[in-house]
């Protein structure tokens, strides 16, 4: 009667790791639509500057530099994940901190940039262009900030020796999220900054 050839293993509780990864991928799919809608909004309004400042106020060299910093943080994240897989708490800790610091540097650059733009007269309510710009880049910044928070949580866990316990959050999941946020920035940087000038 039994047609299965392979021996069937029955477990009471499943290995949680692939399940969490599946859910994270699904969540990132959802995030794609979230950013996609905001990018579409920006494309619709990219010329609606209401005679206020438009794309000409962008400082491409500066934003290129901060984009480079964010992309480098993906590299350190890979190294952190690699160290995590090798069960090396010290290296994991160092690369997690490096990633978080690169992310924070990017955020600082964004704060500086926003301040500059406000001084030049571009605010949330100046024009539809301004609204769409700040909403898109602002929500991306919020995602980076949440990522930094998660990285710092992992960093904190590494001291108490609980980094490798089976918990809700682990370095691999944070890594998936972090790379996603970086990839979204590549799209935003291209669409918002590079296509405008």
């Amino acid at each position: 009667m039994t047609s299965q050839s392979a021996p069937v293993e029955v477990h009471d509780h499943h290995d949680i790791k692939p399940i969490r990864k599946a859910a994270m991928w699904v969540f990132l799919g959802s995030e794609c639509m979230f950013f996609g809608s905001m990018i579409a909004t920006f494309l619709l309004y990219r010329n609606e500057t209401a005679d206020g400042p438009g794309a000409e106020i962008f400082d491409i060299p500066f934003t290129s530099a901060s984009s480079f910093i964010l992309l480098m943080s993906s590299l350190t994240m890979v190294l952190a994940h690699n160290a995590f897989e090798n069960r090396d708490p010290r290296a994991t800790r160092i690369w997690l901190l490096a990633t978080a610091m690169l992310g924070t540097t990017f955020l600082a650059g964004q704060v500086f940039e926003f301040t500059e733009f406000v001084h030049k007269g571009l605010t949330l309510s100046t024009s539809s262009f301004g609204s769409a710009f700040y909403m898109l880049t602002g929500f991306h910044g919020a995602h980076v900030a949440i990522g930094v928070l998660m990285l710092m949580t992992m960093f904190y866990l590494s001291f108490s020796g609980r980094l490798f316990d089976d918990r809700g959050l682990n370095v691999e999941l944070v890594g998936l999220y972090w790379h996603f946020v970086d990839i979204v920035w590549i799209v935003i940087f291209t669409v918002v900054y590079l296509l405008q000038v």
């Binding site: 299965q4 799919g29 959802s30 639509m33 809608s37 309004y45 209401a50 301004g130 809700g168």
Partner: protein, 628 residues
């Protein structure tokens, strides 16, 4: 016997209010979804009765225009987001793990969080009536009406309340998808999953990809109202809202109806004593609906002036999506055809579902024709159409599910006499209410107007509709009474009262905390049926002699007894999901009344949220409670 030796290892059912607050059991969470949604259903139904009273006579005076606007907006919003979606979630929570042979969903605490956040958002939306006025811009919230600021917080309640419901739904959907794709019992291949669970997967994907679009639109509406952005005003384009809204809103329509279709696809085979006719067809047409559902949104916007090319494209796509829907109708009829049909209550409601959904589907096809839609747009014809699909379809399907699975939830049947009264009154009341709206709409009666003049020829049919709506009300009072009474006093049902086909009937009613004493090993579609029945040479089902009712979990397949000793680790109860959900709801209230004191409230909410989230993510999944 396996059961005896493992008795002390099996987790006991906890009791008391605290056990419900900290529960992570998918069955209890499903129950809470169901009860909350049922309460909301009665509130939203009451709103509908007020609307019908107002419209019973020309120049109605019961409601002011302002009250009417709030009531019809909240009726739509509540029914769609707080009733039909959560009822779907209730069934999914309860039956996805049972259908695939799992002990719980993938993330039990995230599941609890989804429920608590849904509850918080529901309370928030309903509280708006006394805290500054309920949303009054229609459930579709079109800009620029929704971004006008004369009414202080009303549409802020809409923007934030719907946003929170969306977050809850996204989390629940990710959870369901992870559950179905990673936690199936051995042998439960994708093409052996019960159809209801398949539809749940499609619904989850629809929500995952459509809700964030709505979320962006809601943020933009909220920013326009509170921070002076120009998404829909100034240089902005109000049409953007319509696109974002319907890009969510149309998949949402399938989110509402697919679970009901899944339920009916479970019920009809059981009461026809035949396997579902064309199981793969039903599954793949459900998936096709999921894909095509994203390509038809602009048929809600024909009169917005999108141009002939777009209108033709969306018109054709809309006609095409009727094909996979029609396929299912034929599958259901094909299942009944030649079967031994038993007209039990679940079957009656299912047949009601199929019939009424066909009517609603056909009037829907008339909308897809652009010139015809120009005439029907914003008329009562549209109201008639979507009530036929959502009430005649959705609610009939869900009620069928309630009659079908009530014995599984409680171990007792719902009373048949009262059930028959419920069915016939509901069928009669429903058709009296909504069939005349076709005529009213074609005679030019517009939607969303709080009164109409005399002598327009609308008096008679409006009166009929009002009478019908009260008959529906009576039928649901009977249903509520039946639920309350039968829970304790109904006829005992036993584990498998309907001679069911799917795994949930193989365990006791109500199911134990851990669902399955031993994880089943699956070999067929409708696996439980094949454990009970063999097929003789002429292809007839013959009941196997060695199994005579009772619990059939312990079959000879693979039961080598190797895991008898294994300890069952059920996830530990946790109150952090409730803390986190309370925090986010508090943030929501703060944002509604922001700026000013609202920021303080939002700040407090953020702290509570952080407490909940950190406590949650640093807490071990299972504490070693059952260890020796």
């Amino acid at each position: 016997m396996v059961l005896d030796t493992s008795k002390d290892l099996v987790p006991a059912q906890p009791t008391g209010i605290w056990s419900w607050i900290t529960t992570v059991d998918h069955k209890r969470i499903g129950m809470m979804y169901g009860v909350t949604a049922l309460v909301a259903f009665f509130i939203a139904g009451l709103e509908a009765l007020f609307i019908r009273l107002q419209l019973a006579t020309p120049n109605g005076t019961i409601l002011s225009a302002d009250a009417y606007n709030q009531l019809f907006t909240m009726h739509g919003l509540t029914m769609l987001l707080v009733v039909v979606m959560p009822v779907g979630a209730a069934f999914m929570n309860y039956f996805i793990p049972l259908h695939i042979g799992a002990r719980d969903v993938a993330f039990p605490r995230a599941n609890a969080f989804s429920y608590w956040l849904f509850l918080g958002a529901t309370i928030m939306l309903l509280s708006s009536f006394v805290l500054g006025g309920a949303p009054d811009g229609g459930w579709f919230g079109y800009a620029p009406l929704s971004t006008q600021l004369e009414e202080f917080v009303r549409m802020d309640y809409y923007a934030i309340g719907a946003q929170l419901l969306g977050i809850a739904s996204i989390m629940a959907s990710a959870n369901f998808i992870a559950t179905v794709f990673t936690m199936r019992a051995p042998g439960m291949t994708l093409m052996r999953i019960p159809v209801f669970t398949w539809m749940a997967v499609v619904v989850s994907f629809l929500l995952i990809f459509s809700l964030p679009i709505f979320g962006v639109g809601l943020f933009q509406m909220y920013f326009d109202r509170n921070f002076g952005t120009q998404f829909f005003s100034g240089g902005g384009d109000p049409l953007l809202w319509q696109h974002l809204f319907w890009l969510f809103g149309h998949p949402e329509v399938y989110v509402l109806i697919l679970p009901a279709m899944g339920i009916v696809s479970e019920i009809i085979p059981v009461f026809s004593r035949k396997p579902l006719f064309g199981y793969p067809f039903v599954v793949f047409s459900g998936i096709a609906i999921g894909f095509m559902g994203f390509g038809v949104w602009a048929h809600h916007m024909y009169t917005a002036g999108l141009g002939p090319v777009a209108e033709a494209g969306f018109g054709i796509a809309t006609m095409l999506i009727a094909v996979p829907t029609g396929v299912k109708i034929f599958n259901w009829i094909g299942t009944m055809w030649g079967g031994k049909v038993r007209f039990e209550l679940p079957m009656l409601f299912s047949i009601g579902f199929v019939s009424l959904f066909v009517i609603g589907g056909l009037s829907g096809v008339t909308h897809s024709v652009v010139p015809s839609d120009y005439q029907q747009h914003d008329s009562y014809y549209v109201v008639a159409h979507f009530h036929y699909v959502l009430f005649g379809g959705g609610v009939f399907g869900f009620v069928a599910g309630a009659y079908y699975w009530f014995p599984k939830w409680t171990g007792r049947f719902l009373d048949k006499r009262m059930g028959l009264w419920h069915f016939w009154l509901m069928l009669l009341g429903f058709n009296l209410t909504f069939a005349p709206m076709h005529i009213l709409g074609l005679n030019g009666m517009p939607r969303r107007t709080y009164r109409y003049g005399e002598g327009l020829g609308w008096e008679f049919w409006n009166q009929v509709a009002t009478v019908g709506s009260f008959i529906i009300g009576v039928s649901f009072l009977i249903f509520a009474w039946n639920l309350i009474k039968s829970r304790k006093n109904g006829v005992e049902a036993g584990p498998d009262p309907w001679d069911g086909r799917t795994l949930e009937w193989s365990i006791s009613s109500p199911p134990p905390v851990h669902n399955f004493d031993e994880i089943p090993i699956v070999e067929h579609v409708d696996d439980f049926w094949h454990r009970k029945y063999a097929t003789d040479e002429e292809g007839r089902a013959v009941r196997m002699t060695d199994v005579t009712g009772g619990t059939l979990v312990e079959t000879d397949t693979g039961g080598d007894g190797s895991h008898e000793e294994e300890d069952m680790h059920m996830p530990s109860p946790s109150y952090y999901p409730l803390v986190a959900a309370t925090g986010i709801t508090t943030v929501g209230y703060g944002l509604i009344y922001a700026p000013g004191a609202g920021w303080v409230v939002a700040g407090i909410g953020t702290l509570i949220t952080m407490w909940g989230v950190f406590g949650w993510s640093l807490e071990p999944v299972t504490r070693d409670e059952h260890h020796d």
